[in-house]
Amino acid sequence: MVDQNVFLIAYIVPLVFGLSLMTKMGDGLAETLSGLNPRASFSRGRHMMGMNFVALTGFVVSVHTTWITFKISEGGNVCSSATVFSCDDVLGNAQYNVDPIFGVSWGLIGMFAFGALLFITNSVSKEPDALWAESYLKYGKFMTGGGILVIALLVSYEVRMGKICQFCTMAHIANVISLFGFWRAGKLHEEGLWNDDESYDFNMKKE
């Protein structure tokens, strides 16, 4: 069986990489990435590439947590009171593992949410100058902003249980980074910097 920490690292790496592409740290990767995608030579392209990485990671983590939730129904693992980090105990706790209104598992909700975010980030990165792009980015900001409330609820559950699901935390971090990405993209629109102007790098302070 693959060590859970290997999965964790596999999720942390693309999240950090995606975040770095959205910030000044990504500028150093422009030349390397432009070979893969010409748009990556521009800050806007790298920003959207980073958002795609983060949304995809959030989606994959959500699939993983959904799998853990359904694995419980196969009776394949253990409940443990000895460890704080235990997704089995968090996702297997019938009191908290579904949303309080419709009874849908949180992992499944995460899959739909990140699937929708992935649609937005991928669409906007393909056609960043489309008329709908700015609206889509706003929808993404509202979704991830709403996600913060859901995260607060889920963290309160974890506090009550005295347990932490590390994969759920990865999904929470992906949502927070996505919110940052959508917020920043919105700022660039407001400031008129949402373009592929080679003479201007929006990661640098405007002179």
Partner: protein, 168 residues
């Protein structure tokens, strides 16, 4: 449980009775899900039924009797609070108690016909160094632990009994 031990038992002796011990928590979803299968295993290896519905090809059990026990604990997890009446409800599939978010009466399988031990205070669990539930131990007639599920995660208790107990 010491009544079941045969101190002069030797390997290959089919007369001695074995023991299978399940450490479980009535609010652990894995224990709830495995309750049906462990009930079938117990009935089969305690020779209360002739065939095992999950393993129809194996025929009547002709090996030594394996006595099943459940040590019911309460893990230190929010929502896992239990009581004797909840343990009885889990064992008998009866009552109004809730097990892992559902009625204990609706758990998988039939009522269990083996002994349940009250280990709500976790004494047994700590003594046996059980890291989580469900955990299974297979004990030879002479009291030696022959198999532990936590060290054999790819093998079920059914498979372990079939592999380790002597055939007639």
């Amino acid at each position: 449980m010491s009544d079941y031990l045969t101190t002069n038992w030797t390997v290959g002796d089919v007369d001695g009775q074995w023991m299978a011990i399940e450490f479980m928590d009535t609010d652990c979803p894995y224990c709830v899900r495995s309750a049906g299968e462990i009930g079938k295993d117990a009935n089969y290896f305690m020779k209360q039924i002739q065939s095992h519905s999950s393993h129809p090809g194996v025929g009547p059990w002709d090996g030594p009797i394996v006595n099943f026990f459940a040590s019911a604990t309460q893990l230190d997890i929010q929502g896992h609070e239990t009581s004797r009446s909840e343990i009885e409800a889990f064992r008998d599939k009866s009552g109004e108690e809730s097990c892992a978010g559902q009625s204990c009466a609706n758990r998988d399988g039939s009522p269990h016909n083996f002994i349940y031990i009250d280990d709500i205070d976790q004494d047994n669990m700590k003594e046996w160094k059980v890291p989580g539930t469900p955990a299974y131990f297979l004990i030879q007639p002479d009291g030696i632990v022959a198999w532990v599920s936590t060290e054999n995660t790819q093998e079920t208790i059914f498979e372990a009994i079939m592999r380790l107990t002597p055939e007639v």
